[in-house]
Subunit: 246 residues, 2 copies
């Protein structure tokens, strides 16, 4: 029996991180990064408490893992002023994402799965233009700009260092175990926990090295986003449905 | 006679900044940002000494100008360690570029011309693939990644706030008054000071609002880069020649 892969997961207390811990626990070992709040974990989980903005801690955290799942982002409250929120984005989404990729490179970690967002191409969506993972960015927010930075970084680490990098443009992620939601036909924005976890699993098990930018969304988003490159590169298709059947 | 436009130029002591001061002095008024070294200036020039990483100073510096020409970048010596240089890039090219765009937005400055680089798409060039301003980024260095960030930011400020933003992918810039250099036919990487200055002038005088990503290079780069979008959007074509005539 082959050794189970160990994943270093940043933002492990968040919505996506919690879903991955629930769905992928039977398949992988975890090293989990928590920022402040530490949720209930399992005895076998390795726990690290740090900000992703701490470079030395990220370098230490990437030692000996098989893949990094980088989910950590700045979270703002409703009343956070623009200047303050933008600074949080700079520290966490930009400096932190650089730290994580560079730490992975230093330790020769072959794969990084990076939580990006549909907001990287949000202005196409606002104009009603359907996109795939192969268009120039048009971020609709500073959050989207920071994720465009992460995608450019991922592309660089792939091209320059042969790292497999996957950027998952995750849209609406409620972190429930639901598998069906009602959306206007073709206009789904919802990703089920199961579809998300299987997509990450497919990226982790795909041939190496690869680079992919995938819209991470359950079925019924076909008017907005083309998911065919995820099927082609890593064999993933959503199984759950975010729109009523036609 | 209409009032002359006032330009806020960051990195004004650098190669490109020095060329612009020389070629555009008769057409525009200048507010010049110097980091440490202050070159000889003219009595009418407004002078500011600051790091672009200082947000408050950038906000102050953008008040009352008609356009920003953002040229400031981190300069590393030959022996600068990777970690240190990457941190300089983070502070100057990333935090600094955010500061400049945000400062321009706060004061309603309608145009920003941003010095980008061919290194944003360097891996296409390494593979021999010809590119224009309309392909996904493939940065060949952390410097290229930082400029990809700046381009994504520029796109956002254009789409979200109606700012005219031009990203000039400047390649080899020696800052002499030469107008001809020998390169292998079609493979020029050189931008003359005159072509550079006229391109900036064309961007400053073009209809508003626009967004453009242009390869900024003199004649003879046609095997590598498509310059047609600059002609179409702002009416610029290089007049000098970086390759022997066919």
């Amino acid at each position: 029996m082959s050794r189970r892969k160990k994943l270093f997961i940043t933002g492990a207390a968040g919505l996506v991180g919690s879903a991955l811990r629930r769905y992928l626990r039977d398949r992988y070992d975890f090293r989990l990064l928590f920022h402040r709040t530490i949720p209930e974990t399992e005895p076998d989980d390795e726990i690290i408490v740090s900000d992703v903005a701490n470079y030395e801690n990220m370098v230490e955290a990437c030692e000996g893992v098989d893949a990094v799942i980088h989910l950590g982002i700045a979270i703002s409250g409703k009343g956070t002023p623009r200047t303050r929120y933008n600074q949080m984005i700079m520290e966490t989404n930009i400096q932190g994402t650089y730290n994580v990729f560079e730490a992975a490179r230093i330790h020769g970690v072959p794969k990084v799965v990076f939580a990006s967002t549909n907001h990287v191409t949000g202005f196409y969506e606002q104009e009603g233009t359907r996109t795939g993972g192969d268009v120039m960015v048009r971020p609709d927010s500073m959050y989207g700009v920071s994720k465009a930075y992460g995608e450019a970084l991922a592309r660089h680490y792939h091209d320059a260092f042969g790292m497999s990098c996957y950027c998952l443009r995750i849209a609406n992620f409620p972190n429930t175990d639901e598998v069906n939601r009602e959306y206007e036909t073709g206009k789904n924005r919802w990703l089920s926990s199961r579809d998300c976890s299987e997509l990450v699993h497919c990226c982790l098990e795909a041939p190496h090295p690869q680079f992919g930018i995938f819209y991470a969304v359950s079925q019924g988003a076909d008017l907005k986003w083309d998911l065919s490159n995820a099927k082609q590169l890593v064999g993933w298709e959503p199984q759950d449905r975010g729109s009523p059947s036609p």
